[in-house]
Amino acid sequence: MSIISVENLTKSFKQYRKEPGLKGSLKSLFAREYFDIRAVDSICFRIEEGEAVGFIGPNGAGKTTTLKMLSGILYPTSGEVEVLGYLPSERKKEFLKQYALVMGQKSQLWWDLPPMEGFLLNKEIYEVEEKKFKESVGYLSEILGVEKVLKIPLRKLSLGQRMKCELIAALLHDPKILFLDEPTIGLDVVVQKKIRAFLKQYNIEKNTTLILTSHYMDDVQELCKRIIVINSGQIVYDGSLRQLIERYGKNKTLKLVFNGKVKKSDLGVFGEVVEFQKDGLAATLSVPRVTHAALAGKILNTLPVDDLDIAETSLEDIIRDIFENGR
């Protein structure tokens, strides 16, 4: 059964233009030129319980606006959206108690106070029982490795520790859906990895539905089996990660290291030269997926190859290609 159902969801924002300078400011004081922007344009999708879905798109694509409509922060301009059987925009208490929203760039904890104070407030707001509260804080802080910092003012903690505490604050009430808006933004790779591992484990253990937006493809690849690609407010792809790579990743990448100098023109006959080292000792080729094995064989026979690595086109490249070429 779908836990989230979205039909023709649209969100428009009214904005105005202002000419630069004082003259423009004075003009806009009396006559503003308004226009509509369609941040989300008639999107449709369904999400099942326990799924982990990644929303991918460039800045301004409509990912966060969609997330905000799903969580009841924004009213849709038109279309239908149902989450856990509720209309999010009605903001019913029973609905709000069943999800959590973690925003990587916006904290819900107090800057000058220890995280535990924020947890206590959430305990009251979400009506979490004392026993359950202690269990959850104990379990989550242990698994995230922040037991020792819960009583230290937030401003004294590292960005990674703060993000982990944000996650604890968000999960205290055992939400059925966890909306994650750029949860690893600004974090170093080690912390990113730890947070991803935690979210993956949490998703499996609790069967919590994860809806993730991120610019880091590693987040999406590690956490989500399904991805929804949004561009200019419209869904351009909705399906499994594997299918996306098969459909759009029509090429494979051959990374070559030579034990003798090779000319760029020698490589051009096999495929597109993506990278070429000036000394002629290394290169990267993009070759058609269907013929990559035969081409690799030919290269091995004709060129002085020392090392060959065959890889799928990276998700980042596929996504960039979709955005740039509008496929």
């Binding site: 969580s71 925003m103 916006k106 206590l120 407030l121 009251e124 707001i125």
Partner: protein
Amino acid sequence: MKRYLKIYKLFFTTSWQLFLSHRFNFMMGIVANILWTISQLITIQFLFFKVKTFMDWSMGDMILLLGLGQVYVYTSWLFFEPNFNELFNKINSGAFDRMLTKPVNIKFLATLERVMVSQLLPTVTTVIPLIGYGLYTRQYLSLFDFGLALIVCLLGIVAMYLLGLTLSGLIFFFEDIQSVRDLLTMQITELSRVPLSIFPKFLQQILTFVIPLAFIAFYPVQIIRNQAGFRTVFLIEMMMITIFYLLSKITWKAGLRRYSGVG
């Protein structure tokens, strides 16, 4: 209700903790408040230097009026003014998004989250002496009338809060509504420290039926002076509270529909 009281208790204790980390501001705030009160007292004394009454108001009545006016100033800053002032920033910084995801009344969370506990001590150091002195100078004092006056004053504060709430709801429509709210709920409070009867009739009506400032100090003092009946004042006040409550519901409901967030 019990849940909201528990949450408010946490707002209060958290605000105390935040405040204790900024002691210097607190001490300077008290000094500034005491200096302000002394300057007001000197002004009143100067006014009564050559006359015994001012439009039928004695010096004690004027000080009582000043004291009750200060009750509003301090309680509003204690409970809701800092929140109203921050609302615009919360919307612009995206912090309001987070509030909208919480399963509590959004108006409660957005306008009462921060308690400015630093206003507690000035309330004691300035309001109590002013009201105490004003009452002390009266030849006859009925404690019952004083109790009724306090009820009118406190309900007046509720009415002013609801007016502020109504205007705050307009922030979703007009980005620069803050200045209008400041004018109506803060700058104009200066008028609560002078008897309403000195103003022209139309201004008296505005300060009663549009901006219910007269209920904070003027009518309570009039009740103590036996110049106004509690029942009539109370009924008008309750009517104003009902109207502002309904208006605040309307502006917030419509405002939230219009809310576009940031980013």
